[in-house]
């Protein structure tokens, strides 16, 4: 299984992680995140799901859309903080 470090080697995953680390209160759809990180929606959607599996993100699913938010796990947030610096 891939780790957070592994995913941070991918530019798109890194961009998403950075975005959420800088905007920890954000909840957004794949379309919204695609705008913030300036990438294609489909690619962003897959990356978001990868990060949900890693528990870096939380998925809020409803019938019409899925909103993704940053983890509330302090250890994961701190680890990402260290990796980003």
């Amino acid at each position: 299984m891939k780790t957070i470090q592994d995913f941070m080697k991918s530019a798109i995953h890194l961009k998403i992680i950075k975005f959420y680390h800088e905007n920890q209160a954000s909840i957004d759809t794949p379309r919204g995140i695609a705008t913030w990180v300036n990438e294609e929606r489909a690619v962003v959607k897959n990356a978001l799901e990868d990060l949900v599996k890693l528990k870096v993100l939380v998925a809020h699913r409803s019938t019409s859309t899925t909103g993704y938010s940053y983890t509330r796990d302090k250890k994961i947030v701190a680890r990402i903080g260290r990796l980003l610096t």
Binding site: N23, A25, V58, H60, S64, T65, R72
Partner: protein
Amino acid sequence: MEEEKINSHAYHQELFNRLRKSVNLQKEEECFGCYIKSTLWWLLEKTKPKIPDLKKLISNSCSCLKNRVSKRRSKCLGILADAINKAAANRTIVKFSCPEGLNGFVHPIMQGDKLYGYIGSCYTGREIPSELLDIFASYTNTIVTEVQKELELSKLYETLRPRAIALSTVHTVHRLIGSTLNLNELLPRIARLSLQIMRANRCSIKLIDAKKKVLLPKATIDLRQKKARLKKVKVGKHAPGKAVKLGRPIRGADYLATPLIDEDVIGVITIYDKVDGKPFTAFDQEIMSTLAEQAVIAIKNAQLYKEQEKLTVGSIKSLAAVLDRRKPGTYVPRASFVRITLAMGQDLHMDSDTLKSLEYASILHDAGEIVVPDEVLTKPSKLTGKEYDMVKEHPAAGVEIIKHIKALKSVIPIILYHHENYDGTGYPKGLKKDRIPLSARIMAIVSAFEAMITNRPYRVSKNINEAISEIAKNAGTQFDPKLVDVFLKVMRRKDIRQVLENELRARSAEDAA
């Protein structure tokens, strides 16, 4: 005012940082420097510099100043200060000559009328023609304007981006909470999303009671505790009660109570304890107020939907009661049948809308019997062919009754086909196997079971076990064998059997009395 001053100072500093890094300005210095033989260019951030500032600015770079005695150095700095003052007063480029016989100039850096500092050159070996200075001034102004625009754009981006992200978050939350009409699902969802946005540890949503005196806890999520406390709060008491009474947010260091206001206050969302331990801010209050505005719409919609649903179920039950009265001597244990039907649907992982349709159908599946004459329904002997044809019309008649009720649209195929047999020998269309809708195949089993354990004018009812065996016996012919397995599994459940037996026993006792 203080904040404005800080911002202005930061802008000033950033402007000069960018000017120092400006490639265009460096090129300009190279070009003009090449012609005027200048070896010293400087940027001065202060609008009213003092002599020590000037000394610091050029003394270390100006080779002639370095070598001169302090008297001549002071004179040189004095000339420069005069030129700067003149440039500031006239808002124009000013030339000067130093005691060493060298030349220089000072150009004010401005935006509109506002002076930010100066750009200048010393130690120029050549007399600088005024025309050239005009070109220099004009080109420098263009560069400064460009840098100022860049700076403003970047400031705008920094200001707008977090707001755009917050707005996008609010929009996503709106979509997430607007997609459910189930209040039991909606309120915890609002609480969870509020916690996420506020990065807080606890959220409680309370709705006001009918008398508008007490706030009833409806959803509480505490991320630090597995079980959250559910407490009633009197209107006017504590932060949530005060927020409701006053109709405005109540903010403390570790709590933020935001009233849910429609035409009137309907409740309150209270957030407690930020994860980072910081106090709630005015910005948090603004975001929570926006979220509360959206939450209240979603809550009102869900409440209206619930009311409408109650009304629909009420009408269905009334209709079922009327139908029951037409079958003297029979009693249909509706609650048990609804339960069996729903249990089968749940076992098949049907979604909530389909389950709802099944529930309504289990109450209404024989609504069409209203068109069958009493003497046929209550006939104790075998029906004639013509009479049986009348009975066979009841599914279509049932559809006629409910088709005008929009909420029951999805119930139509269940009612219409619940007398179809799996082998195609049923009515009204003689559909086979999977061509019969799944819900209608479920209803066929449950309604047959219901008929068997209910007394009819023409026969005595079977007991529960006999009826179950009969259903099992007809798997693959009258009933879908896979669904019969599900039915048998459901009927093995103690809770289901218990409710059915209790319901039948209560009715027997009532009859005996």
